[in-house]
Subunit: 578 residues, 2 copies
């Protein structure tokens, strides 16, 4: 009894997050493999604050959660509104579709993320239906199921609004997609796919089904050869060949997986070596990769494709389950909001380099729903010239230029990119290019010559990809800005304002690409790391395991994901219909 | 790389069930606690058999699965039909409702159970819709979801039919129950309850909800004070007090749990000490136990009860979530089947002591859908007398009686129970009772005197409870009968047939009660063990953990359930809305 009480008390202490120092020691040994995890949570000090600014965060995805986790200033009062009360580690969604990882292992309640912070926070499980940026109000609707099916509408006002609602699936208005295809954006989607895969096998095993029908039912079509589609195809192939064939021996030879890609290659955003390896591996695995195949219609039993290689011929393929994973679209209330603020015919909310929504005050947008509108050098060339030409001589010397060069590179990152890509060592090389073969010291340019020198720089501007990595970095960046808002108001740390006086409060957001993975099944992964370093094979798979385990938002999900991987290794994947 | 390949190969070998000997060593150490599990699967030998008898099993619950696991004779060809392709460890369902254990941890695919057997088996995921016992056909319908929503109908014929479809919820025709209440019979029910509990907390946390409405939403009503209702109430109380109060500090004081029981006490099937302890503990925990409260109507916001203690007054209680866990009813196709075979107005299919359905050939019924119709001694008294009186003297001597006593006790277990309850040491004591004070050796009875001696014996007949334990023992018993069908045909091992010649093939089914648990929350459990041994408290909770871990059907579920318990201990329960 005494022993137990110790246990119980220990458990309470263990889970009590108010303690200043927390040590989690999980030592799990399976068949000689081991995991040692150590965590430390540094306490933040709380201070009494008279007046709190209301920060309203829409969304609990990568961007929103990253913002919440990094916001430390107790002078804010945070209200989070999202239809999901949890954060989901979306890069593991393809693993969830086949039961390699359980859905619950990749989610963490938002309230748990709050609880560890010393910022006043509350959460409402609701969808945003309208943003009124003029009156600083957001209209929300809760669609929580209840017996009477009522919807609860409410209005939240804010001082700062953070829009981090992500994107929705883009069907490109292809008929039948919404009705008949599965998607892979939410946790529920992954769970539904998992049930449907088992459904297909069960249906094909019924005594009354003809062989032809069995073949149709067991044909899995995946539309979109991007990272998600490819990873799902690989995961499904592993699930079928490692687990299901043993349980469904009667139908195992009828299974077919087809990957449909409208472009010329799958994984086109990756290095060519990765694309070639993936296409080759899929061919060996028996996954049918159909490139140049654009889906034009989906019925309940057939997918119609336009074959680009055969002059646009329309073909129909019978299928049992179809997964649609091509591109992202804008949520309807975001479209409304964009119309309201004059951003028409755009894919996503345009922000400046500090993630502030253009045409609004105190509204920020980040993640998949936003896109940064990088200012062009050419737009500001006159202002740049004026600021740089300190002696108002009408010409710029190299010395003058070098003094503001850091600010220029910070404000217009395309300049730095351009220099790097052209293998130039400094601004002198760039200016020399337009002046011809003169000595560096004697370079002097007028505004027209500066224009000529910088004319191609803006071509280096790139839109950021809609990935978890970008969203997460944006959330962290914005939270840090918010944490230092007052401090930076007094001592701005950003680059010179070229059009106006003074300096920007903060440095603009800069994305740091850490690399990207493309798991290809059979314990092999392709990794494209910074510096165009490419690694393919089993070793990358272990790198993938390590990175994904370390990137989990909590020790709970980390322990669960790792134990799921071990479970899969020991017992295989479960095929119960739940 | 080499290291990895070893891993991969090891993993394959590990999961290959064809190996003659399998050793699973899982050594998981968390904070000094340890678990050592060791498993050995003895291989069964396969033999070529010319003609196979078709055994059709309906249902994959405790009875059906226990039958499948114990059937070893390769001369059968087994076809299992069930709407669920998995077996669920139902005693852990209340734990699933609050996330103490994950749904997937308590299920095992039926095909996995087959795969390890050397009996030809197949499975069809379908519901039985009609049994035609005359033509030995069963009509099935598969309602697997597919895009076109078709239903697949098919017919299966059989040589032996095993009905193990369990029971369904009994609403006693109370209006509104089906529409508004949750049940706790299937895995999906438990998952739905879990989501609804979180829903209620989220709904109550919305800004627009009034305090009174919050109170209503956070009122959890549980109807039925049986083991399921009590365990769920306890589990919910733990979930709220240990986990949710931290995440929902704003609404924690508004939560209320009410347990409604129509009878005078909760856990009425248990020892009085357990009932008293449970009622006392619930009172201390703040769970409102309302006995003598019969639910007469459920609307979307209110439960109407008839208060037996207040002369049948009707009261209405507002509620947020209601769970209905009172009694079990008959499935419609079983009702049809019973009408077909002339069993009208019964709660369950009546079988004889060998689990054969009365009025049919080669049809067996077991588990919650069946009830054993124990033959009464009084019905057979003439036959018993005739068989026992070997010298046809018209009177029975003690010696004659003692010769058939074992058979009588086996055929009519109520005789043994009667002797035990009356503290009689043997048949002589029983006969003496009717003859008065005579010497044992000189006892001699005629038929009327025998009737007098045995007149009260039949009062000891008891119906078996509808529990997993009974169903599981019945499944194992029936499989063993099937395994030895041919052998016992030649050498019957059952008791003498009193009405006919010869012996019964098998010994009749005899239930062995191993005890019952009632978890009461706060790491305390009440256990009623054989011999009316009662244990309540923390030690019983550990007994509960051990028994439930050991009773799992596979090493996979065992490992998962144990790791779920550890996860709960370390990280608490998850409150994500999935």
């Amino acid at each position: 009894m005494r022993n137990f009480n110790f246990f119980q008390r220990f458990s309470r202490t263990f889970r009590d997050y108010d303690s200043q120092f927390k040590l989690v020691l999980l030592c799990t040994t399976v068949s000689g493999g081991g995991l040692l995890a150590y965590g430390e949570a540094v306490a933040t000090s709380e201070a009494a604050v008279p007046e709190k600014k209301k920060v309203l965060v829409l969304g609990t995805g990568w961007a929103g959660t990253s913002f919440l986790r990094n916001l430390n200033d107790p002078r804010y009062e945070v209200h989070v509104v999202s239809p999901r009360n949890y954060f989901a580690f979306t890069p593991l969604l393809p693993s969830v579709t086949c039961g390699t990882v359980e859905a619950r292992s990749i989610v963490e309640p938002v309230r748990n993320i709050f609880r560890k912070k010393h910022v006043d926070s509350r959460f409402s499980e609701a969808e945003c239906i309208k943003i009124d940026a003029v009156n600083r109000k957001v209209y929300c609707r809760s669609n929580i199921n209840n017996n009477s099916n009522e919807k609860q509408d409410f209005v939240v006002d804010y001082d700062y609004l953070i829009i981090a609602v992500g994107a929705q699936v883009n069907t490109f208005n292809t008929p039948g997609v919404t009705e008949h295809c599965h998607f892979l954006k939410e946790v529920e989607d992954a769970q539904k796919i998992r049930r449907t895969v088992i459904d297909c096998f069960e249906r094909a095993s019924l005594p009354s089904v003809s062989d032809e029908e069995k073949k149709r039912i067991l044909h899995f079509a995946i539309v979109g050869g991007g990272p998600t589609g490819v990873e799902f195809a690989a995961a499904l192939h592993d699930f079928v060949s490692e687990d299901l064939v043993k349980l469904y021996p009667g139908v195992k030879d009828l299974v077919k997986i087809t990957l449909l890609e409208a472009g010329g290659h799958i994984l086109s955003m990756f290095d060519k070596r990765i694309t070639a390896f993936a296409e080759d591996k899929f061919q060996r695995d028996g996954i049918d990769v159909k490139t140049g195949s654009m889906v034009v219609k989906v019925s309940d039993r057939e997918i119609s494709t336009k074959e680009m290689k055969n002059g646009g011929e329309i073909t129909s393929i019978p299928y049992g389950m179809a997964v649609w994973s091509t591109g992202i679209g804008t949520r309807p209330f975001i479209k409304d909001f964009m119309t309201q603020i004059g951003q028409i015919n755009r894919r996503a909310v345009a922000t400046d380099e500090w993630l502030r929504v253009e045409g609004t005050n105190n509204v920020y947008a980040l993640g998949d729903c936003a896109t940064i509108n990088q200012r062009k050098v050419m737009e500001d060339i006159a202002a740049i010239f004026k600021k740089t030409d300190k002696d108002n001589s009408g010409t710029l010397t190299l010395k003058e230029f070098q003094e503001v060069m850091d600010d220029i590179c910070e404000r217009y990152p395309q300049v730095e990119l351009y220099l790097k890509n052209k293998h130039m060592h400094g601004i002198a090389d760039l200016l020399k290019e337009s002046k011809g073969d003169v000595a560096k010291e004697s370079i002097e340019l007028n505004i027209e010559e500066l224009k000529t020198a910088l004319i191609n720089v803006d071509s280096e501007m790139k839109f950021l990809p809609a990935t978890a990595q970008v969203a997460s970095q944006q959330g962290a960046y914005l939270a840090k800005c918010f944490n230092r808002m007052e401090e930076c108001e007094k001592n701005p740390e950003g680059p010179i304002r070229f059009r106006e006086e003074g300096r920007h409060r903060f440095k603009p957001f800069r994305y740091k690409h850490l690399g990207q993975f493309a798991p290809l099944g059979g314990e092999q992964t392709a990794a494209q790391l910074p510096g165009d370093w490419v690694s393919i094979g089993h070793s990358s798979q272990w790198l993938w395991y390590s990175v994904y385990a370390s990137k989990q938002v909590s020790w709970r999900t980390r322990a669960l994901v790792v134990s799921d991987w071990m479970r899969r290794f020991i017992f295989g994947r479960d095929s119960s219909q739940i």
